[in-house]
Symmetry: D3
Subunit: 281 residues, 6 copies
Amino acid sequence: MATPNPAPKHFTLTYPQEYVAHVEINRPAKMNAFFEEMWLEMRTLFDALSHSPDTRAIILSGAGPRAFTTGLDVKAASTGLLNPDSDGLDPARKAAHLRRHISSFQDCISAIERCEKPVIVAMHGFALGLAVDIATAGDVRLCAADTKFAVKEVDIGLAADIGTLSRLPKVVGNFGWVKEVALSARVFGAEEALRVGFVSGVFEGKEGVLKAAGSIAGLIASKSPVAVGGTKEILNWSRDRSVEDGLRYTSVWNSAALQTTDVSAALLSGIQKRKPTFEKL
Amino acid sequence: MATPNPAPKHFTLTYPQEYVAHVEINRPAKMNAFFEEMWLEMRTLFDALSHSPDTRAIILSGAGPRAFTTGLDVKAASTGLLNPDSDGLDPARKAAHLRRHISSFQDCISAIERCEKPVIVAMHGFALGLAVDIATAGDVRLCAADTKFAVKEVDIGLAADIGTLSRLPKVVGNFGWVKEVALSARVFGAEEALRVGFVSGVFEGKEGVLKAAGSIAGLIASKSPVAVGGTKEILNWSRDRSVEDGLRYTSVWNSAALQTTDVSAALLSGIQKRKPTFEKL
Amino acid sequence: MATPNPAPKHFTLTYPQEYVAHVEINRPAKMNAFFEEMWLEMRTLFDALSHSPDTRAIILSGAGPRAFTTGLDVKAASTGLLNPDSDGLDPARKAAHLRRHISSFQDCISAIERCEKPVIVAMHGFALGLAVDIATAGDVRLCAADTKFAVKEVDIGLAADIGTLSRLPKVVGNFGWVKEVALSARVFGAEEALRVGFVSGVFEGKEGVLKAAGSIAGLIASKSPVAVGGTKEILNWSRDRSVEDGLRYTSVWNSAALQTTDVSAALLSGIQKRKPTFEKL
Amino acid sequence: MATPNPAPKHFTLTYPQEYVAHVEINRPAKMNAFFEEMWLEMRTLFDALSHSPDTRAIILSGAGPRAFTTGLDVKAASTGLLNPDSDGLDPARKAAHLRRHISSFQDCISAIERCEKPVIVAMHGFALGLAVDIATAGDVRLCAADTKFAVKEVDIGLAADIGTLSRLPKVVGNFGWVKEVALSARVFGAEEALRVGFVSGVFEGKEGVLKAAGSIAGLIASKSPVAVGGTKEILNWSRDRSVEDGLRYTSVWNSAALQTTDVSAALLSGIQKRKPTFEKL
Amino acid sequence: MATPNPAPKHFTLTYPQEYVAHVEINRPAKMNAFFEEMWLEMRTLFDALSHSPDTRAIILSGAGPRAFTTGLDVKAASTGLLNPDSDGLDPARKAAHLRRHISSFQDCISAIERCEKPVIVAMHGFALGLAVDIATAGDVRLCAADTKFAVKEVDIGLAADIGTLSRLPKVVGNFGWVKEVALSARVFGAEEALRVGFVSGVFEGKEGVLKAAGSIAGLIASKSPVAVGGTKEILNWSRDRSVEDGLRYTSVWNSAALQTTDVSAALLSGIQKRKPTFEKL
Amino acid sequence: MATPNPAPKHFTLTYPQEYVAHVEINRPAKMNAFFEEMWLEMRTLFDALSHSPDTRAIILSGAGPRAFTTGLDVKAASTGLLNPDSDGLDPARKAAHLRRHISSFQDCISAIERCEKPVIVAMHGFALGLAVDIATAGDVRLCAADTKFAVKEVDIGLAADIGTLSRLPKVVGNFGWVKEVALSARVFGAEEALRVGFVSGVFEGKEGVLKAAGSIAGLIASKSPVAVGGTKEILNWSRDRSVEDGLRYTSVWNSAALQTTDVSAALLSGIQKRKPTFEKL
């Protein structure tokens, strides 16, 4: 198994199915609120899973009954990110320190997006602030019927800067709704999240959403890892570029990927009506 | 109050709530149809509100019971924009004059988008042609149940050139629907507008939609103006660029914005369970 | 009539209404599965229709009761595209051959997108793999209630490389759903396609969807061809670029297009309450 | 003549040749150093010339024997731009004010670039700081042998923000040299400017450079204004975009521009060996 | 040999060295001036050479002693491109016809750029108008000392629309010089072309430049065709995109290309001090 | 001093002047050829210097009399990068491994570009292959008169993939020359490098170039670090984007940076004719 060494402190990593990793944010006593050590560790973890040959799909959820995550641990942040080691600095120097902090923080969350394996985000309870940044960096979002979401940042006097404002408009197709929830910080529920396309499915309770996530992850993990990895990469590349640049990149990518033995394995299995087996990647 | 001086002729500007400006298109006898002087004035007005310290959110609606606006005053346009002072000019010179007219017209509507304060567009009755260009330049769109929309331009022999074709596909997430209504010029109603995400809410009558707009505007106006302004700016920037460029811009923007006293004001108010007060911007 | 010469072998071309071309994929015995000669012919056909003065809107559908198309004829492909004349070549040389194949294939499908006339894609029965690539290159998508869709490619070990991954995220506004269906290759039906905005309408049976397509195509064909052509072009250009670049391009485009006599023809017809007639383009 | 009304206070505008405007920065007692009123006026002036039918080429130079311009009037700036009406504001609010100031200032200099008519910048003596921002916004740069240039901004503690850092790397093809002079603020002379391509020609004294500028401007003014305007526009558009987007924009632009009567006028004059006359634009 | 079938009428194709194709524009009686049939044929020819396994480098020159090419055959154009079959059409319809003509013409010249094999352009005598469009689409430009260049288009009342305005600023690093020669249409010679980097070398007479071109082409043809093709492709891709997008594309491209046997062939030959042999591509 | 801990093994780091770091590639016995451990260490080193408050400018050179660096240690690479742990893998899986290797390698070299402090690259002797990748990632390039350069990669059967092909065309303004040296792998000397703008200065011997580099680095280090850092960042951002996006980013950046106390320190020192002192950053 691809357990990182040393094992993560603030996350649990298990393999409930073959090739399916389950990452759990593990600070339930604080409703999985994040402080700096946690997001640094999350980067290390997803960077490792990205290249792990034992992992073909990933589920990300939160420990405990109450929350996926309530976001930034504001108490910790007010002595950290929001108040860097910058006393006595002029505003320009303080800005330089803040910029480095924000860039590092963004990079930790982007580790989910750049991870070569699809990430299914399974949410329940509170999913506030940073929860939305994390969710939009994932590939598929599911939630329990009781989930309470909010792009909470304006309520603490700042624009969401770890990814929500850059990714949410590309994840859902309703720019007016994005603006409304981001400008007002109001809470929205599972049904609204489903209606606008922020989540793809709503399920009963934490168990329900985890089961559904397991089902999708298992299905993805049964496919050719070459095809799955290419599909995630090309979709993310194309999102940010013209159709023309998307097509060109795809042709270059597939000029190598089509040389996989997975194509004949898949075709043969289809003819023989049996489940194909694919080499590790 | 930030009443522009001189006061606008074709719009009314009121402040129904603290920090909430209400701009009304004021030509009800002609169903608020636009002629050139009106869009030039609209630019002046929104450019002023953009920097007005007394304004934190804006509602845009149409006067009278019948229409948000029926769009371009075709009669006026046929002696103006669609027939510029170009008689005797060869087609290339006529094209140069038309290009200047269109660019100026586009810039007037874009004033709504570049306005630093969020604009809630509250529509009722007829909302045709230019109405859609204006609405897509706003941030949040609401409408009364009786609203009749149409991307009307092909019906007068032209492609919509003041913003609808550039912005509508980025506002709603259904490109086939955008093409169908833009190519056919057919009328669509409030429920369809809600279903595709062109509007975020449908309300009873003009009063209903104005009340809802006031509620959202009031909520936004109660937040930190630094956070709200940054949120609008970063969302608009990110819409047109890659996630990577969005993240970088965000980190630079927030390196200054996080130095606001609003963060501690908001945090303290949260602890003290009271409404924060923010300095003017 | 603009029947290409020689007539296509694998497609039928008819004109059920004035200015409305109906292109039918015509290999019903094989459920309209594609082999190379077919997509090359499709390019020739759409390139001809693009400039045909007798064509103002196009319907694309599949012959026979069972399928729009089941996609790539895998049997043919396994001796062709997926196995190019590359035996004995090293992987880099094989990649060069594959890249050329893919680019040519992509270009054939893109012929639908670059066609100056709107293309209404009317689907029924199976619409798998390449069917989705083709549909996303069209302008408006409709389907029968019985249609079964799948982004099937990962099931044969490859990432969809003929357009789906580049265009589907720009056609629908639910990136999580796109990822889920593209990563899992699961089948989805008409109602789901409607809900996420992949199709604009669901109709009873093949007859129902063709009738609806005819209705939209006829409506579009009754409009100014200058306005319609400009609308398609500007929408496609703007999809891939910033609002600012969209607006500038629009102003340049319309500086010529507004000089059409269609504007006065349309305005006059509006006043006289009669159907306008437009010159060929 | 297209003399703006009212006449500019800090610039002189003359027409030394038919269709050739000469704009002179006119504050020689202060070596043509700029304060805010001057750059606002410069925008008004170039916006007017852009549409003036009597103007086909523009020369920009500095009055007096000593300087094109020494740049920002630092004394004025230190009570203005560098010290906005922002006392008591927190750094985020101060940043908002600064951003508005900088954007407005940038827009004034960009008026030279967006002016539809080519601008020949003729420099002599000191050309420091803002001088380089202005020069890079022009189309052709010439200088007297005695000219002393510097990207002076780091010497007053700031990064050049009015255009030099965005435009200079696109004007010359030596990125290392750009970095060296921008990072060190060192003075460079006419010969070095010529060698790296910052200027196209070096001439004897202010008279020499003005004569050479007049010669180029006169030559350009003798050409078809449709062709000249299109050439400037397409070159600027293409600079910032891919070759593919450049070609497409060009084809749309010229689809109107080629319909000018100037083409036949030019061809006929060529055959008849006489100077063509072109209508005003 | 990869002689296209049928053989070109207006070009000669020879192989003076192994793997080096020499394409000669062959209309010396008219100083190699182009009419439509010629540029269509040029596209066919370069598209064929692009995939020809016998071709690893291409020299492009003009037949006869007097000119590389004097550009567009204006007499032919004035009954063709500049006067399309558009009599009686309104300006918008005429624009559509012109746009199609220009796009097709551009595509023919772009065939040189998209050709997978490097193209060395060897010029002598007159190289006017279209000559510059063609030359900038090539990879390396050389000329005889007597060559007379001009971006001639403004002299016939139009902006150069077949590639010069999009490509020349990316070929040379002196934007002011580009603007000056494109706005003035003035003639410039070989030395000036060398100084600004439009050509890489100046040689004595047509023989001299052809010999030098042969030398470079021969050197390139002796290298791994996988490495050479990748180098041309990545350089062209990167020219139009950010460094970041260039690096990513490169990594994807080389993930297949590095699997060539050419790497070990080249390394082994280096050790053995002998000339490597590479398989056809 | 900001000596990284642990100290680098393959590089020496010294501070010959206040705030000026000197990084020396330290493998002279192998002419400073690189193997994987070295480029990983180089990333760590430049990432540390980027945030080091004691460093305001960096000189990068090679140890020993014979070479800046001869590039990739081909012997090491042939058992590493060019032959990854991929035996028995199909070409698609091998491509995935290669892509990860290349991306990591590129990221190590890009550390020089993203370093907040300017990097002066001082070259002598052989500067082959990877040497050019490294040099183009730096800010200013200088060399000794004896330096021998080559974009050597095609000679070992591959396209240069660590940065040269993406950055070199943006560093020099002669695209034909770039193509010629990259396609032919021919050696070029110091004078040619100076003429095309690859280096900014040529000096006598290694001592000469190091002295010149020290002079420029010292000058830069004497300026405001806020101004210097902003200048490098904005120049790199603008290189890859439109002028418009460059200007906007600049205004946001400087809205914080102008609030530095360095502006008043610099202005005051100017008046008092003394050297200013700036706080650490």
